[in-house]
Amino acid sequence: MLGGPGLESVVDQIISVITNDGRNIVGVLKGFDQATNIILDESHERVYSTKEGVQQLVLGLYIIRGDNISVIGELDEELDAGLDLSELRAHPLKPVIH
């Protein structure tokens, strides 16, 4: 029985994190711990809006605290390359309500 989250398989890969406040942050997973705190390198935030295309804000090297994380997704770079983010319109994700 593994103590922490089974994230070893995605270390050094690009992941998409959804945080509890509804943000989407993409970056390379460099490390994690039992509490799902993560280290994300080369990260940027993807801001979705209904009025304009997806905005990408460069963040750099980040530590995201585990209790603020909802989802960690393995980003498929092929699929992602096929997306036209400038044409994507969507409401921002809702924040988590416990």
Binding site: M1, L2, G3, G4, P5, G6, L7, V10, S16, I18, N20, G22, N24, T36, R46, Y48, G66, D67, I69, S70, V71, I72, G73, E74, L75, D76, E77, L79, D80, L83, L88, A90, H91, L93, K94, P95, V96, I97, H98
Partner: protein
Amino acid sequence: MLFFSYFKDLVGREVTVELKNDLAIRGTLHSVDQYLNIKLENTRVVDQEKYPHMLSVRNCFIRGSVVRYVQLPPEGVDIELLHDATRREARGG
């Protein structure tokens, strides 16, 4: 421990996880841990038009603390077994 064991038995099944931010993700249950964190494979967001935020994601890790519901296929549920197990857990725990 009961639900950890229960989910371990469901590995391989198609489930839909509804999160506390109203996002619903469908996928194959790959693994679960003691915190009921869930790893899904072959994921699709249920309302992709409304939630295109995970279009390029096919495998994901969902933190247990953020799960509202886990929707199971009815064939995957032995309701009598579950009923007995929870009764025993309630008595002992």
